[in-house]
């Protein structure tokens, strides 16, 4: 197969676009597609300060690389979750640090245990949230700490490496379970609101296979080993099912996501009632829909006084 641009030997074939490219043209194609997505969804501008949430995986490091290549001011934020007795997190962190060093960029490192008192797996055990799967509490802590850090450090936009497969899998899961509240809020951008920084996903139209290919072709070292808690995760199950469909119908993942965005644009997911107002958490000051503490601080309280909190909830 030959590159459509120059006729050289192709390195990747993107069936959904009926496009094959050589390594050189693909390395240029990803930043140009990312820039188009940034502009299409009005994500941010060149004067904005961006904070990229990096995990050490291919998507977030590839995104950081692309944003720097495009000339954006983009710093990194790594959250040390304390996974696998700290070993998995230590490995992930080392890739983020190496990347930041090689590009001479600022990387903010935050240990979840400094904020929560314990690591994510311990927090899941103590609070009995998620049992042996700490994914739920991990998501909660990451959303809270990333948002808070971006606000405290005065960044304009928090940027994440969610790719098309992530978005399609989320959409698939939320549709199967008719999670209408989540469907209303899913999109390439979440607007800034009091207490919430603006969030954007510049890779939302790029397949996961392509972010991996880009990382490989750019020589970006990333943590290849999967999170030990990912085994059996629903998001991976949905991705596998979508890939089976993609084999028969190239482009089905992309059209699933884009037709959803069109439906949203055409007001198919309109809010019927006004969104509830947010209160301010008396501990950390974050917005919360509850009357008292925010979800993160409630988890923190249960960790510091587990027996008391458990008694209250029994």
């Amino acid at each position: 197969m030959k590159c459509r641009k120059c006729g050289a030997k192709a390195a990747i074939h993107m069936r959904q676009h009926k496009l094959a490219l050589c390594a050189d043209h693909f390395r240029r194609w990803i930043p140009s597609q990312t820039q188009r997505t940034i502009e299409k969804y009005d994500m941010f501008e060149s004067r904005d300060r961006l904070l990229v949430a990096v995990s050490g995986g291919k998507d977030s490091l590839a995104l950081w690389d692309v944003l720097l290549d495009l000339g954006y001011h983009a710093d990194g934020l790594y959250l040390d979750l304390g996974i696998d007795a700290g070993e998995y997190s230590k490995l992930s962190r080392s890739y983020c640090e190496a990347f930041a060093r090689s590009r001479d960029q600022r990387l903010i490192i935050m240990r979840v245990s400094d904020q929560l008192g314990v690591s994510i797996p311990d927090a899941a055990r103590i609070t009995r949230r998620g049992r042996d799967k700490p994914c739920s509490i991990c998501g909660l802590a990451k959303r809270h700490l990333m948002n808070r850090t971006a606000l405290e450090e005065r960044y304009d936009v928090l940027v994440t490496g969610h790719n098309l497969d992530d978005e399609a899998a989320t959409l698939f899961g939320n549709t199967l379970n008719w999670q209408v509240g989540y469907l209303k809020r899913q999109g390439p951008v979440l607007e800034e609101r009091p207490g919430f920084v603006r969030k954007a996903k510049p890779f939302c139209r790029i397949y996961e296979r392509e972010t991996a290919a880009y990382a490989l072709l750019r020589g970006i070292d990333y943590v290849y080993k999967e999170c030990p808690y990912a085994d059996g995760a629903k998001s991976i199950y949905y991705k596998e099912k979508l890939n089976q469909m993609e084999r028969e119908r190239p482009g089905i993942k992309l059209s699933f996501y884009l037709s959803f965005l069109r439906a949203k644009r055409d007001m198919q997911f309109v809010e019927r009632e006004a969104q509830p107002g947010f209160n301010t958490c008396p501990d950390c000051g974050s917005p919360t829909s509850s009357d008292g503490y925010c979800a993160f601080c409630r988890v923190k309280a249960r960790i510091s006084q587990p027996s008391e909190a458990l008694e209250r909830n029994s």
């Binding site: 197969m1 994914c135 998501g139 959303r143 899998a169 989540y182 979440l190 296979r209 991976i236 890939n243």
Partner: protein, 73 residues
């Protein structure tokens, strides 16, 4: 002689002369979930497997940390 597909520490022997894609499908590996490299170079999956060579497959699916399964806020 045959060709080998290597995925992490697993090695699968397949017939040479078939395409990488056909070999993956024969092994019940979803082509969209992998990249293939020959001698460190990324290749498309219509490449014909050569006798005695080893092709490395790179799994691309990740997730499960909560970052992709829930919507922000």
């Amino acid at each position: 002689m045959s060709a080998t597909l290597r995925l992490r520490d697993q090695r699968f022997e397949v017939r040479h002369g078939m395409t990488v894609r056909s070999a993956m499908l024969a092994l019940v590996l979803e082509p969209d979930a992998y990249l293939a490299t020959r001698d460190g170079e990324l290749i498309t999956d219509d490449e014909i497997l050569r006798e005695g060579e080893e092709i490395r497959l790179i799994a691309v699916i990740s997730g499960g940390s909560g970052s992709s399964s829930e919507v922000w806020q």
